[in-house]
Symmetry: C2
Subunit: 309 residues, 2 copies
């Protein structure tokens, strides 16, 4: 049996860490967004894969949720002297991962293979799979034109108003061979940004079809609590895309793909509205500060999947 956990940035990595305490390595595959991936100064960078890898390797910077703990910034400070692009925060230790990945990709390894090697070297026993080895790239259509993901997200700090999100080269994207589709017993959609983290994963046709024609349950966790995102631009984007900024809005977005929905205790009053969409609901504390929070929320998801099976 394998549960697939679909995950993007920091929120997804937190629930994934919880899942890694509830499930054995052979019971879960973490399927990670690659729509954020980009080339920067010759380096091949996969931000969401890295955030999860650092989190599961217990070397993540816990205060930011991304990047390395015990990081140093000598390279970046020199780049500032050169008046080079420094909007993407390249830490000295983090650079090693980007250099190593770039070197292996240049030798013809796939992103899946590179990710496996990195996990081995960092002692991560859980399987982290980039959803595809193809170059699927998120672009954000905004009042300032069509922006590459990192331009929107990091350089412009999500400030431009969003009118749509596009996924380039999605038709070419085939599912990573690390994802075994024969033995799926359930899927968890982590509380990541629906447009920037989860949708690009679902743009891989094989995975989307699998979920639409599923013979296993899918549980999603709302990234919205009250009228806010726990982190990042989810709420702002929902407003700009004219969606209700509530956990119900997210439920409507995922409606054909999920069977069960975990919302925050604070939103329990919206349970009936969601159930009327034909979706089963559980409420739980969904703001994950401590490891205990993450493990508890992961347990809710796994138990819910069992119930729905």
């Amino acid at each position: 049996m394998t549960i697939l956990a679909l995950t993007g940035g920091v929120g997804g990595a937190k629930l994934s860490l919880g899942l890694s305490h509830v499930l054995e390595p052979n019971e879960v595959t973490f399927v990670v967004n690659v729509g954020d991936d980009f080339e920067h100064m010759g380096l091949s960078i996969s931000p969401d894969v890295d955030t999860l890898t650092y989190t599961l390797a217990a070397i993540v910077n816990e205060s930011t949720g991304w990047g390395r703990a015990d990081e140093s910034w000598d390279c970046l400070s020199e780049l500032e002297n050169f008046e080079a692009d420094t909007w993407f925060q390249l830490g000295d230790r983090d650079l090693a991962l980007h250099l190593f990945r770039t070197a292996l990709l240049k030798r013809g390894k796939t992103l899946t293979e590179v990710t496996q090697t990195i996990c081995e070297r960092l002692g991560v026993e859980y399987k982290i799979a980039p959803v595809t080895d193809s170059s699927l790239r998120t672009r954000v259509l905004t009042a300032q034109g069509s922006l590459a993901f990192q331009d929107y997200f990091v350089r412009l700090k999500c400030e431009p108003e969003v009118s749509a999100v596009e996924y380039h080269q999605r038709t070419l994207a085939s599912l990573s061979p690390a994802i075994n589709t024969d033995e799926i017993t359930g899927v968890v959609i982590c509380p990541s940004n629906p447009f920037l983290s989860i949708d690009p994963i679902l743009e891989v046709d094989e995975l989307r079809s699998l979920l639409i024609n599923r013979d296993f349950p899918v549980v999603a966790v709302s990234p919205i609590v009250g009228d806010r995102a726990i982190k990042g631009p989810t709420a702002k984007m929902m407003r700009e895309l004219k969606m209700p900024v509530t956990c119900v809005g997210v439920a409507q977005h995922y409606i054909e793909l999920m069977d069960g929905y975990v919302i925050d205790d604070a939103d329990a009053h919206q349970m009936r509205e969601i159930e009327e969409l034909g979706i089963r609901v559980r409420n739980a504390p969904s703001i994950m500060r401590s490891l205990e929070d993450k493990v508890a929320l992961a347990r809710v998801c796994v138990d819910f999947l069992k119930e729905l099976r």
Copy 2:
């Protein structure tokens, strides 16, 4: 008037620093070897250009003669954890230069333009010109086969026995536009490795013709003192190439290209033998430890050029 100083690694950078104390920025152009340049983990690296740039910017590591002073090695230590290639010493600060260069080259800038920009940002007023913007690459033919320069020099620490040195794509190499050939009043061949630093510069046809058909004097400084090289594999290579390992051996190598030759005081007894080759000779202390040593040797070269004019 412009003096061209042909220079490669650490020895060349030392004399170049001396020349920068004797000549004004408009009186000298440093023409630098690019045969060592290579791609490493996605980075475009120009070791000899960097050594000279760091030296003239007064940020070189004075104990090694290359790399940055006040360097940190967090990235490299992580690369070791990844079991990645760590034979090329990438310091955290040094990495910034490689990333910046790589980014500018990827935007379509030439190596000449990139080098000018780097010098501006580091406050280097002297003109550093890579001899060519083309991809001229040194390969070393050895008992272990044909090796890329960095494989031979850094990874294998110059251990394989050398039978010949080759310069790939030399026929395509055109002279850097930063080198003004109309106003040359003299050339200094720095005490760099003849085969690995100076010959690849002279493989650029336009420069070699200019030196062969010269109407200006050329002064070379011997990289051999006694039967040893001051630094690096020059003496070992000369032995393997069946050349006499003396300053006379080097003179014979450069014979059609130079008018004056500066040898170490310790080799003054070989003066006559060199003069018999039709070359004027000066002896001087040529081992450059202090800044004063560098300036003094530079002054000998510049005065010698004036005499020969």
